[in-house]
């Protein structure tokens, strides 16, 4: 479905390419090729915002994620951001593979797609409404498909075009990074509701049912997935702290004796309220924390339900040295409401705190007396950042480096192409995030590789980064949630594709991973990316992990070699 916000019209378009581009990541790059403007900036009204699912979406367990693709306000280049929630199944069961949104609406708008509807609802009255409130109101606008629809929406930060504003997906998940929220803000798109119906009837043969059952059993019993079902990703906090690979206090430290206050165990023990799942996933890794707030003296309370995970706890917990879980949950809740990416927010505020400490900025810039550990100041700062309350915060909302270039302090701006993910595991991760496609810890398992390899073998690391990306690209074309990557081996994936009638794809899986990786890189290169241009700030070179001090020459050689290899392999 291609939607034009300016004309308030849409149409269904069909494309060739299932066997070459598959879906998800591959489909997204195909659609950007068709609809994207390569020589215009990210906020040109005709730039497309793409949501893509894959051939297996909604057919098997954990085929539960959607790939979004767009030209990013952060670096003005092609990027992707992935999310779960109900988006994938809603798109699949509305009978679509993908949605492309072009144009700019004249007024703030909410779009409804699915169940025989395509509507453009004026939503001026939703201006500046926070993400949670927006969700409630959009729900009340729509009477149909309760429980089988996805509501994507932005907060005030997206409306104000912050380069790391996110798109919230069904309250507890996000198209988090690279500023999708600002793309929507520039289009005057406040919310998109996708109504999933029963979709086209798919015949479930005996072979199919048996395969579904066996995969369902694997994902609900396999050891690797148990961790997500149990403590969730926060199980990694203690582990990484022990490995001296957990960023604390703007990466001044890589471990702390305070870890037990803020570990996954602590959260589960005292703050975990309940669990939830993305539609189509029986693992249910969403962990919702609970904090109650007294708002009046005579025992008047409200409560917050806040989804927490490893990255948010790193970003607004350890990175800010806030060790009270209740405080981190409060900060996360405010970040959620204003509609910012929590990872970038934490790293940005950590930099601002150190900059204030060092005197390169003053209270005039920060408006709050930011100091490591002081949750209440950060709660307020999150809103200053999201609303661009003054010149300093407007700049900071464009990216930590943008602010550091102006005020100084680039050395300790923890940015590797994008604000760092929560892993100070070593050279392979730093080289990876700084060059990789999404500047994300998820492009390749580099942080995991670091934890298993003390030897500094350049060739082996390089080969790993390249091959792992290709494997993940294939999964991200189906679209599999990467938490299930150990279950969806090539063999299992081939069985699924065969059972669903995609024999062509199952036959060419090997080459498809590489080919699609190539397509998406070429798309990014065409929008101006030059691998190797991101330099690694000094702070990353000063840390110590379980392997010892960072090996600066090795890091530089790896960073440079990786950049060259990407150019060699994927340039046209």
């Amino acid at each position: 479905m291609v939607v034009d916000l300016g004309l308030r019209k849409g149409h269904i378009q069909e494309f060739e390419g299932r066997d070459t581009h598959v879906g998800g990541t591959g489909l997204a790059s195909l659609l950007y090729d068709k609809f994207g403007l390569f020589h215009e900036p990210w906020d040109h009204p005709d730039q497309p915002f793409i949501l893509a699912t894959g051939p297996l979406t909604g057919l098997f367990p954990l085929m539960s994620k959607t790939v979004s693709a767009f030209r990013s306000p952060y670096h003005d280049q092609y990027t992707e951001s992935h999310a779960g929630g109900r988006s994938a199944l809603a798109i699949r069961y509305s009978g679509l593979d993908a949605i492309v949104i072009t144009g700019r609406a004249e007024r703030l708008t909410c779009v409804v797609i699915g169940q025989g509807r395509l509507e453009f609802k004026d939503a001026d009255y939703l201006r500046d409404f926070d993400v949670l409130k927006t969700g409630k109101i959009v729900r009340s606008m729509l009477s149909s498909s309760r429980g089988h629809r996805s509501i994507l929406r932005i907060g005030p930060a997206g409306e104000r075009l912050s380069s790391f504003a996110c798109v919230n997906a069904d309250t507890y998940r996000h198209f988090g990074r690279m500023g999708a929220g600002a793309v929507w803000g520039a289009k005057n798109l406040k919310a998109l509701a996708i109504l999933g119906g029963d979709g086209p009837l798919i015949h479930a043969s005996r072979e199919f049912r048996d395969l579904y059952r066996s995969i369902h059993d694997m994902v609900t019993t396999k050891e690797m997935l148990k961790k997500y079902h149990d403590l969730g990703t926060p199980a990694n906090l203690k582990k990484l702290n022990e490995l001296k690979s957990l960023p604390w206090r703007n990466l001044q430290q890589t471990s702390s004796p305070e870890i037990d206050s803020i570990s996954g165990e602590r959260f589960a023990e005292s703050y975990l309220l309940r669990n939830m799942a993305c539609a189509g996933c029986p693992v249910g890794c969403v962990h919702i924390g609970y904090v109650r707030e007294k708002f009046k003296q005579d025992h008047r309370y409200f409560f917050r339900q806040v989804a927490y995970d490893y990255e948010p706890i790193f970003a607004v917990g350890t990175m800010l040295e806030v060790t009270d879980p209740a405080d981190t949950l409060r900060i996360m809740d405010e970040v959620e409401k204003v509609g910012l990416d929590v990872m970038s927010t934490g790293v940005a505020l950590a930099w601002a705190t150190e900059a204030l400490e060092k005197g390169i900025i003053t209270l005039e810039e920060t408006m709050e007396p930011l100091s490591f550990g002081d949750g209440s100041a950060y709660i307020k700062a999150v809103w200053h950042l999201g609303l661009g309350a003054n010149r300093f915060y407007s700049l900071l909302a464009k990216g930590t480096m943008a602010a550091a270039k102006e005020y100084g302090g680039e050395d300790f701006a923890c940015v590797l192409g994008q604000e760092m993910a929560g892993y100070a595991t070593g050279e392979v991760f730093f080289a990876s995030q700084s060059n990789s496609f999404r500047h994300s810890h998820l492009d390749a398992g580099a942080y995991s590789y670091d934890q298993k390899h003390a030897e500094r073998d350049l060739q082996a690391a390089l080969d790993f980064l390249i091959q792992d990306e290709c494997k993940r690209t294939l999964l991200n074309s189906m679209v599999v949630c990467l938490f299930a990557r150990a279950v969806y081996t090539d063999e299992v994936l081939a069985d699924c594709l065969d059972a669903a009638g995609f024999q062509e794809i199952s036959r060419s899986m090997d080459s498809l991973g590489k080919d699609i990786t190539g397509y998406r890189w070429q798309t990014r290169f065409r929008t101006g990316y030059e691998p190797g241009t991101v330099k690694i700030p000094r702070r990353f070179l000063e840390i110590e992990t379980w392997k010892g001090k960072i090996d600066e020459p090795f890091l530089e050689r790896l960073r440079s070699a990786y950049a060259n290899r990407l150019k060699e392999l994927y340039s046209e």
Binding site: G58, L59, P61, L89, Y93, G135, K136, R139, R146, G147, H148, D170, T171, Y172, G196, G197, D198, G199, L201, I202, H203, A204, F208, R209, Y212, H216, T220, H229, R274, N275, M276, A277, C278, A279, G280, C281, P282, V283, G284, V286, Q305
Partner: protein, 133 residues
Amino acid sequence: MKKLVASRMERCIGCHACSMACSMHVYRSLSWLSAGIRIRSTGGLSTGFEASHCMACMEAPCSSACPTGALEKRKGGGVRVKRDLCIGCGDCAPACPINAIYLDHDSRPYICIHCGRCVDYCPHDCLELVEVK
């Protein structure tokens, strides 16, 4: 005779595995809606989930509303669905007092037949088959 009861919905995580199991095993299709059990939030994801399914009432007004005898009253409550007799008139759905019948775009009904295929798929044991008293 048994019937399906969603006894522990306070544990539900909204994964829809039960719906997928029913649509696959009973209706030979695959969907989160064309199934005898369907999961909805009770008012946004922050408020928990409810399961919509036939509660095996003895009266079975859906059966009375059906003009072709496609819904046969079942001992123990609820109905047996004879799909080859169904003409897709859609009269059964509005007859159900708890909106437990789902109609697809061809007006074919999807009704829980209390077979229990979904019970095993729930990762949190929210569902069970209980003996009808």
